[in-house]
């Protein structure tokens, strides 16, 4: 007995592992085991999820053959975390949820990933195939619900299809125009015994997707045409969006811009595709973009769109958008070309491939000296601005300070609204894949869980999330994760006690009738953080702001910073919705 008592933990583990292995080898594998093995085969190192009845077999298989699983406190937290993870690593994030409510809680995140082209592979449990369609307990038609908001979705009908489906799902999610793929997994299939003989033969099988062959190589003739147009242009302009980031083409973009001295502007989601302080970078365009960037679009005679989808928040009134410009549009998704803006030179290709093809041709570029001189002057005349307040802190000041303290190197996630726009304006990014924001869907509650995913993806990076006080309250339950995993995420709550952007629109377009946009009663965010075992700070005055931010942001631990800012501050410049970019207001100080 004495020997037993002195058994070390390591030995115990070894015994347990051996037992487990014997158990595993003796037992035929079921669908759930095969699913987990398929994730291992895809080199998935982390899964965000939440268990439930329909995925019990899956979680049991996960127990036998572990992949790091992060148990969030709500399925929405799991999927936004997976999005954050996917965005900074540029590879698919993986999510597991149960059937019914588990699956429907993912819907917002799936739609968000779809519109922002974020690669995800989402597994949902489903009731057993013999009761599908009978309104069984926790049954929801997630296939029907997610068909319009996924790149593709599958319901597994045969246990032996699992390896093929998982392989296809990862391929579809992460190639072409990226996006979410959902796999619905009925409970009885996860319990069915897998035919190992078939598995061997199917393992080597090539993917067979005759209806899915994204074109990545640019057409030679179109590249010729583009070169000619660039050579002839007097006021060319590059509009770089997320397509550059997904293609990892930042290097090529900078080279191309520098080689021919072409000015570059970004969309909200394209930030980071060129250094935030690059001399050819004229900032973000669109509704709250820089005066110079929007002016450049309206004055350009050639607009080279690389991986942007001409979203209405960028273009304003499409009929009055870039009125003088010939449009070159490089996009991996042919359906985006000509969708919103008529395009003269379409190039269906991966951004990296297209830029490489352009770089390979040495051609005589345009003389952009005068054009750049004009833009530099405009840039000098129309910087982002605010009027300092004697009593209150301005939200812009908080973001500027965070930028200074972190030197532009932090991974930044944002929620949605005013603070998001200020972060885009004032946090100048040094790198690509350090900017995580919900652009297309505008999902409040996105920023904080996305930061958690980003921190798991980049454990050594400083990860900061700017949240509004309202958006933070939509997913704040994930604070538990900061404590549980000692994740050093820095939550900066830009607290104006209002739904800032809604309030701003009500001020500007509804004569200041603040209908349901003020939130006078809020939790004490410091105490709330402490309740979750996270250090909380409050910033009340400008004097203390810098000291507190410095201490909090340089800490190795998770922190929540409640920065009390001026409520009535507005985001400028602003192009009113549906108006032309020429109708921009607030370019200069009022």
């Amino acid at each position: 007995m004495a020997a037993n008592v002195s058994t070390t933990d390591e030995q115990k583990d070894a015994i347990a592992t051996t037992q487990l292995q014997t158990e595993v080898t003796n037992k035929p594998r079921n669908g759930a085991d095969v699913l987990i093995q398929a994730l291992h085969d895809q080199k998935v190192d982390i899964v965000f999820g939440y268990p439930g009845g329909a995925v019990l077999h899956v979680y049991d298989a996960l127990y036998r053959n572990p992949i790091r699983h992060i148990l969030t406190r709500h399925e929405q937290g799991a999927i936004h975390a997976a999005e954050g993870y996917a965005r900074v690593l540029n590879k698919p994030g993986v999510v597991i949820a149960t059937s019914g409510p588990g699956a429907t809680n993912l819907v917002t995140g799936i739609a968000d990933a779809m519109i922002d082209s974020i690669p995800l592979v989402v597994f949902t449990g489903q009731v057993a195939t013999n009761v599908i369609g009978s309104d069984a307990f926790q049954e929801a038609d997630i296939m029907g619900i997610t068909t319009p908001i996924t790149k593709h979705n599958y319901q597994v009908q045969d246990v032996n299809d699992i390896p093929r489906i998982v392989k296809e799902a990862f391929h579809i999610a992460n190639t072409g125009r990226k996006g979410p793929v959902l796999i619905d997994f009925p409970k009885n299939i996860s319990a069915s015994v897998f035919d190992e003989a078939l598995a061997e033969s199917s393992r080597e099988e090539e993917l067979y997707l005759p209806g899915y062959q994204p074109n990545t190589k640019p057409n030679f003739l179109q590249i010729q045409k583009a070169i000619q147009a660039i050579g002839e242009a007097k006021q060319p302009l590059i509009l770089a969006d997320a397509g550059v980031l997904f293609a990892d083409a930042r290097q090529e973009l900078s080279e191309f811009a520098e080689k021919y001295k072409l000015p570059v502007i970004n969309t909200l989601l394209g930030l980071g595709s060129i250094h935030g302080q690059h001399e050819l970078n004229f900032g973000m365009a669109g509704m709250h973009g820089a005066g110079v960037a929007n002016d450049a679009i309206q004055k350009a005679d050639l607009l080279i769109n690389i991986g942007a989808r001409f979203d209405d928040r960028l273009t304003g009134d499409t009929k009055l958008f870039a009125p003088n410009a010939t449009i070159i549009h490089i996009d991996i998704d042919p359906a985006e070309i000509g969708k919103n803006i008529p395009t003269a030179i379409p190039i269906v290709a991966d951004a990296k491939e297209a830029l490489t093809a352009l770089l390979k041709k040495d051609f005589e570029g345009p003389d952009t000296t005068d054009w750049l001189a004009y833009l530099y002057e405009k840039q000098h005349d129309t910087p982002y601005w605010y009027v300092e307040d004697e009593k209150e802190i301005l939200p812009q000041q908080i973001i500027e300070m965070v930028h200074t303290i972190t030197n532009g190197d932090a991974v930044v996630t944002t929620d949605v609204g005013q603070h998001q726009m200020w972060a885009a304006q004032y946090y100048k990014l040094n790198h690509d894949h350090q900017w995580v924001t919900s652009g297309g869907l505008g999902t409040m509650g996105f920023g904080f869980p996305a930061a958690i995913g980003a921190q798991f993806a980049k454990p050594d990076k400083k990860v900061i999330t700017f949240c509004g006080d309202a958006g933070f309250q939509m997913t704040l339950q994930e604070l538990a994760l900061l404590n549980e995993f000692n994740l050093p995420v820095k939550v900066v709550i830009v607290n104006n006690g209002a739904l800032g952007m809604v309030r701003q629109w009500q001020e500007l377009f509804y004569d200041g009738r603040y209908s349901q946009s003020l939130m006078p009663v809020q939790p004490d965010f410091v105490k709330l953080a402490e309740a979750y075992g996270v250090k909380g700070y409050r910033i009340n005055t400008l004097d203390e702001a810098h000291t507190i931010l410095e201490e909090a942001l340089n800490s190795d631990e998770p922190v929540v910073i409640d920065a009390r800012v001026k409520q009535l501050e507005n985001v400028y410049p602003m192009v009113p919705a549906g108006k032309s970019l020429d109708d921009i207001v607030g370019v200069k100080k009022f």
Partner: protein, 171 residues
């Protein structure tokens, strides 16, 4: 403008829902839709008649449909030389004293009588949609009891008029 679009799809469960759902999401109006197997196993073909506002919308429709993973091919065959066919089953009140008259006036449409009873006769008419429209108008005064149409299916003719560059300039 009215367009005839054929979509070749992998015969997976849910594929009809994907295609019609996409048309709904992008606000296209479907006038008719037919689906059936093709000569290839596991491949089905859908024929749509849709209304689109302009060329840009049409291009979007074709591109968005092509993007679907289960869609193999999308063709707008409106401008091609094609065979369009639709089938209608029309149940008409037909008392014995009128039956002879009815049969003789519908004769040019070459309908088949596929069912009769004491007072009712059921015609089957096959042809272009406008032929069926004309048939219905002709028979309507006798009292239509029930009417069902399949929607249009189409096939591109083997020999197409040769389009030379000169001709397309003349267009």
């Amino acid at each position: 403008m009215k367009r005839v679009i054929t979509v070749t799809v992998l015969n997976q469960s849910g594929v009809l829902n994907r295609v019609t759902g996409l048309l709904m999401k992008r606000q296209f109006n479907i006038e008719s839709i037919t689906v059936g197997h093709t000569e290839q196993a596991n491949v089905s073909k859908m024929t749509f008649v849709v209304h689109v506002a302009d060329e840009t919308k049409l291009e979007q429709l074709v591109k968005q449909l092509s993007k679907q993973i289960d869609v193999l091919k999308v063709n707008d065959i409106t401008e091609k030389s094609i065979v369009l066919r639709e089938l209608a089953l029309i149940k008409v009140v037909s008392p014995a004293n009128l039956r002879h008259e009815m049969n003789s006036i519908v004769e040019p449409f070459r309908p088949q009588i596929i069912d009769t009873s004491k007072n009712v006769v059921t015609y089957q008419v096959v042809g272009q949609p406008d032929k069926i429209d004309a048939f219905i108008e002709l028979i309507r005064p006798y009292g239509i009891k029930e009417l069902t149409r399949t929607g249009v299916t189409a096939s591109v003719r083997e020999s197409q008029p040769i389009e030379t560059p000169q001709l397309s300039i003349l267009k």
